[in-house]
């Protein structure tokens, strides 16, 4: 092969570099996902610490639920949310969600950072967490 040695070395180096992310992580535990904290005073006070819907539903669909709440609260003037089990909650980010989930960094941000998404809800709705 004409200049075969150089080609083989080059190909080997290329393959090593291209597969480096996989080779370097061999044997390591798979990324386990973000750890979310439910350790807030309001949640401790609840006798039944469950969200407005099931945890799996909230994990997958909370953004859609919040968008629906937004339209119902602002444009339709509704103030109550009846969940799938028939329980009634205040249809309000401030009064329902942020009372329990007052730990933005450990709860909301933990997952959003993991998923590399930047929702801007907190520019207005932050339950008084920031401020002078």
């Amino acid at each position: 092969m004409y200049k075969g040695g150089g080609i083989i070395v080059g190909l080997t180096v290329f393959c090593l570099v291209a597969t480096a992310p996989f080779l370097l992580n061999i044997g390591r535990a798979a990324e386990s996902g973000p750890t979310l904290s439910l350790d807030t005073p309001a949640i401790h006070l609840l006798s039944d610490p469950s969200c407005v819907e099931s945890a799996s539903y909230m994990r997958a669909e909370h953004m859609r639920l919040l968008a629906e709440w937004r339209d119902q609260a602002v444009r339709e003037g509704r103030s109550e949310y009846v969940n799938s089990a028939g329980a009634i909650f205040a249809l309000s980010l401030e009064e329902s969600c942020l009372q329990c989930h007052s730990n933005r960094a450990e709860f909301c941000d933990a997952c959003h950072n993991y998923a590399a998404v930047e929702p801007y809800c907190w520019e207005c709705h932050d339950g008084g967490a920031t401020g002078s």
Partner: protein
């Protein structure tokens, strides 16, 4: 083309045009139907401000202070960028078109609380390109900050200067953020909402609560409402009523027991 065919074609075209115009006419009434589904059943929320009571006995400073504190309205000292939901002015500035050189001292010295008039024909709603500001079935002109793109057409459209623009993040100018109400963000317009969040809970707006009887809130479409009874008790004026926006805030002179 023969003349006969030309005339036939023209007749067909004319018939098609007439049919189109008729079908458009049939669509129009459907689009103009009044919105339904008001939670409270009220059709036209309004305020009646009893000027004598307001100027004589009300704790005037408390009214705007309570409103602004509860709604996280920032206190920005620069008048070019300040944000106001309700504030005070004198007669010449509130009712410029009624100004006269021989105004009585009593009227000259009076203070007038001014706020969004929640017009029945709101110019701000008509000019908003995103429907961020909209009229609820109960007559309240509300803002959906999520949709506001900050174009400020509504500020140009409002004849009362009732709207303020957030030129920057307002949070540093809020002394104490009320955690139960959202703040606004830079780039949106805001204004009085007649406390829609309190109305759904069956409570009156904060200004009404703080004014201790000097500001009366009620359904203007209901002749038995407190607001309508107050209007019947004296002479009431509205700001710039001649513009035809039908403001829902009335200023009552000589209402029940006043000295006017």
């Amino acid at each position: 083309m023969k003349r006969r065919e030309f005339i036939k074609g023209g007749l067909l075209l004319g018939a098609a045009g007439l049919g189109g115009a008729l079908s458009l006419g049939a669509l129009r009434p459907a689009a103009a139907l009044p919105p339904t589904g008001a939670a409270s059943g009220a059709r036209r929320w309004g305020l009646v401000i009893d000027l004598d009571k307001y100027n004589q006995s009300a704790d005037r400073e408390k009214i705007a202070a309570l409103c602004h504190r509860r709604h996280n309205v920032p206190d920005i000292p620069d008048t070019k960028t300040e944000i106001k939901w309700i504030w005070e002015d004198d007669f010449a500035h509130s009712f410029a078109e009624m100004e006269s050189p021989y105004l009585s001292d009593r009227i000259k010295e009076m203070r007038f609380p001014v706020l969004c008039n929640h017009c029945a024909e709101p110019a701000c709603v008509k000019v908003c390109p995103t429907q961020a500001t909209f009229q609820r079935p109960d007559g309240i002109v509300n803002m959906d900050y999520h949709r506001c793109i900050g174009c400020r057409f509504c500020m140009a459209g409002c004849p009362f200067g009732a709207r303020s623009f957030n030129f920057f993040d307002p949070r540093p100018y809020i002394a104490e953020i009320d955690p139960l109400y959202p703040t606004r963000t830079g780039g949106v317009v805001e204004k009085c909402t007649f406390c829609v969040e309190r109305l759904t809970a069956g409570l009156p707006p904060y200004c009404v609560e703080a004014a201790a009887g000097a500001i009366i809130f009620g359904d203007l479409s209901d002749p038995a409402s407190e607001a309508r009874r107050a209007l019947a008790s004296g002479f009431a004026i509205r700001r710039k009523a001649e513009l035809g926006t039908e403001p829902s805030v009335y200023y009552l002179l000589g209402g029940g027991g006043g000295d006017a």
